[in-house]
Every structure is written in C-alpha cells, then in structure tokens.
C-alpha cells in the first residue's frame, strides 16, 4: 500500500495508529500475563503463609498446654517435696525425742541415786516436811517462824547441788546437728496479709492429745513455735488476732486470722527473726542437736489437696 502513490496522508497516519495500537495490545497482553502469573504466585505464597500461621497457632496452643502441665507438675512436685520434708523433719525430731527422753531418764536416775545417800536423804526428808507445813507458818509466832525458816534455809543450801542439778537443762546428746524447718505462709502473698499459717514438723497429737501423751521434744518444739508466733503477732500489732490449731499432713499447723488487724512492719522478716531468736533460746533443741529454720512458701503450697 505504501507503494501506492498519492495516497492521502491520513491513511498512513491511521495505519501507523493501528500498528501502534496493535503493538500496545500485544505488550498489554504480555504484561497482563506476567501480572496474572505473579498474582497467582503471590496467592499461592499467601495460602502457604496462612497454612503456616494456622500451624504455628496450633503449635503455640499445644506448647502452652504442655507448659501449663509442666507448671502443674512443678507445683505438685513442690507440694509433695514440702510434705515429704515435713515428714522427714518430724521423724528426725521424734527420733531425737526418744534419745533425749532416755538421756533425761538416765540423768534423773543418777540424781535419784544421790538422793539415797543417808545424809542427803535426811535433808530431803526435812525439806519435804517444810514444804508440807510451809503454808501454815504464817500462823506461828514470829520467833518460832524465823527459827524454822533459818533452819530450812540451811537445809536448802545443803541440797542446793541436787536442786540445781534437778532443774538443769537436758543433757546434750552430742549428736550431729540436723536441720528442721517450720513452713510459713501468708495469704494473700502481696498486700495486707489476711491469714498467717505456720506448719510445724511435729505430730498434730501434741495439740489434740496433749492430755494423754507425755510431754516430749515434739511438745516443747510446738511450745517454742507457738511462743514465737505469739511474739511475732505482738510485734506486728496483731496481738489480739485469733489463733486456731489444725492438722496438715499429720503435722501441727498454727493458723492466724489477720483480716481484722492492721499488720505493721514486715511480718516475713519478723517471723524469721523470731525463729532465729528461738534457736538461741531453746536449750532442749540444742541438746538434741535440732537446728531450726524458718522457710516462707506460697500459701497454695500448704492448702489442702482435696479438690
């Protein structure tokens, strides 16, 4: 056509436009094809990524569940360890109690033998007679009373070694120290405490059956801790807080309701100070080689396991 002479110029222009459009259409088709391909690839990638997200979410949930089980397992193991520790400590105290009782009996036996000495026995007899009539002395004439009191004082001085020995502390067993723990907890753990509990490694029977069982090292251990808790309550301004004694895993637990008190100061710090003071004071524990420690634990660790 281009060879046709004298064609109107417009034809050439139109042809050129048509060619341009044809090229543009072809280019468009090629580019759109590329876009379609890339879009399809992107969609596949998105689908894959979504599948991965779903899988990751499932994995996350699975891991959380597993971790929760680990937490429960750790709590259970911790709870069991505390109870096992209480049982072990309780056995240690009871074992030493039997040894200490035997040593005290031997010490008393020796003192009883000393009382059989005729000279001592005669003084003891006089001492005993004085005790029997002591309450009636006030009715006697002053001079007579003074003579009796002077004589009694001489008898008492003669017996002083026996009197002192019979009131001396328990004999030292000379055994290696064994550490035992009193478990403390407050609830709630943060903020003003509403309840305090101390669990002792001694049988609950020292509280419940005290009238039927012989006072022993476990009993005196309990007296010491009850005294320490009482001092602690006084120190934090909760001296009037009601106390209950309950059983936890066969052991004695001292529970204090603090909800109606305004606890002042750091109850945890003060409790450990009281236990420290008790270690210094308790001669029978030292004699038996029992070393006392205070240990703060979470209240949940001491809660009943039922339910």
């Amino acid at each position: 056509m281009s060879d046709v002479p004298n064609r109107p110029a417009v034809i050439a222009v139109l042809e050129e436009i048509a060619q341009w459009k044809s090229r543009a259409d072809a280019e468009f088709a090629t580019t759109m094809s590329d876009v379609d391909r890339d879009e399809a690839a992107a969609r596949r990638a998105i689908d894959e990524a979504q599948r991965q997200l779903i899988a990751l979410a499932a994995l996350r949930a699975e891991l959380k569940d597993k971790h929760a089980l680990v937490g429960l397992g750790a709590e259970g193991r911790e709870r069991a360890a505390l109870r096992e520790g209480l049982a072990t400590d309780r056995k240690a105290i009871e074992g030493r109690a039997a040894l200490l009782d035997a040593a005290i009996a031997a010490q008393d036996g020796e003192l009883q033998r000393q009382l059989q000495d005729p000279e001592v026995a005669s003084a003891v007899e006089e001492y005993e007679k004085f005790v029997e009539v002591e309450s009636s002395l006030a009715a006697l004439p002053v001079g007579y009373r003074k003579a009796i009191l002077d004589h009694h004082e001489r008898v008492r001085r003669r017996l002083e070694p026996v009197i002192a020995a019979s009131n001396a502390g328990p004999p030292n067993l000379g055994l290696a120290n064994v550490g035992v723990g009193v478990l403390f907890a407050v609830d709630p753990a943060e903020g003003p405490p509403e309840a305090l509990v101390a669990v002792l490694p001694v049988p609950f029977a020292v509280c419940r059956d005290w009238a039927d069982r012989k006072e022993d090292l476990s009993s005196r251990f309990a007296y010491r801790v009850v005294a320490a808790v009482s001092r602690l309550l006084g120190a934090v301004g909760a001296g009037a807080a009601p106390i209950q004694y309950t059983e936890l895993s066969g052991c004695l637990a001292v529970q204090v309701w603090l909800g109606d008190c305004e606890v002042q100061g750091d109850i945890k710090e003060r409790a450990l100070e009281e236990i420290e003071a008790l270690r210094e004071e308790a001669s029978e524990l030292a004699a038996a080689g029992i070393e006392l420690y205070g240990l703060w634990v979470r209240a949940a660790m001491l809660a009943d396991e039922e339910g």
Binding site: D108, S166, N167, A211, G234, G239
Partner: protein
C-alpha cells in the same frame, strides 16, 4: 521419800493439767505477760501470773447439789447463769469461756457445754473469739429472760438446751 519432783519446777503440761487449760494457752498467756521462762519450766509465781494475766477463774468446786424439783441439768445451768449475772458479764462484757466449766468433773462439763452451746445458738449468750480464745457474755437483749430463769427457774430460757 520424795523424789526429784520435790525440787523440780513444773512442765507446761503439768501446769496445763493443774489449771485445766491447753498448754498452748499457757504459753500464749506467759508470752503476752512477758514472763515465759526460757527453759519452759514453771514455778508457783508463773502459775499465779497465768491465773492473773489470763483472767482464769474457778467457778465450781465440784458438781452442785441437786435442787428439789429440778433436773441436774436445770440446776447447773441456772447456777451458771446466776454466776454470770453476778459477775456482770453482760454484753459487751465477756468472760473466758473455759472459766464457766473449770472445777467441774468431765461428765458435768460435757453436759454444761451442750447447754451453753444451745444458749449460744439461741442467742441468749453471745460468743466472740479473742487472743485468749472463746469468750462469752449474756446478750443484752436477753438479759431480762436470763434474770427470770436464774431467779425463778422459769421463762423462755428454761428449756432451750433441751432442744439438743
């Protein structure tokens, strides 16, 4: 011949039995009083401190003689309420609960405890917990009824503990 006990100070357990008080109460009273011996051995002075600081009283010298026309339970609860009135333990004043039973034998203590528990349930006596344990007093609103029963043995209070 006497043994070592002639010279030895008393254990907490011995004093607890003597005073009809739990050993832990002995310890708590002496701690509050600042007079707990460090060796946990107690003498007569400690016992007096326990009585005084703990507000311990012995209200009975054995079971009371029966009154004609009254059951033993009626006699004893009537006498008890008369004692509480006489000592003016009327709300808000209160007395250690264990004082109400001290001096009675175990059987009469059991019977009296049942009656006292019933009177608490019926609101004739009011109870509260303190550092020294349970305390009791006559409910102010029931004072007239208690007085009527204590003096004449009659009135609404007369049979409350029979509901046990």
């Amino acid at each position: 011949m006497a043994g070592l006990e002639l010279f030895q100070r008393m254990s907490v357990e011995q004093v607890a039995k003597w005073l009809e008080l739990h050993p832990f109460e002995i310890v708590r009273i002496l701690v509050a009083d600042g007079s707990l011996p460090s060796d946990l051995r107690l003498d007569a002075a400690n016992v007096e401190r326990i009585r005084a600081a703990g507000g311990l009283e012995t209200w009975w010298e054995g079971p009371p003689a029966a009154v004609a026309g009254q059951t033993s339970a009626q006699t004893i609860i009537r006498l008890l309420l008369a004692k509480v009135l006489e000592k003016d333990y009327v709300e808000p004043r209160s007395v250690r609960a264990d004082n109400l039973f001290r001096g009675l034998d175990a059987e009469h203590q059991r019977g009296l405890r049942r009656a006292v528990n019933a009177l608490i349930r019926e609101g004739v006596l009011v109870s509260s917990m303190s550092a020294t344990g349970l305390t009791l007093g006559i409910a102010a609103a029931r004072l007239a009824e208690v007085r009527q029963f204590a003096t004449s043995g009659a009135g609404p209070v007369a049979h409350l503990w029979d509901q046990e």
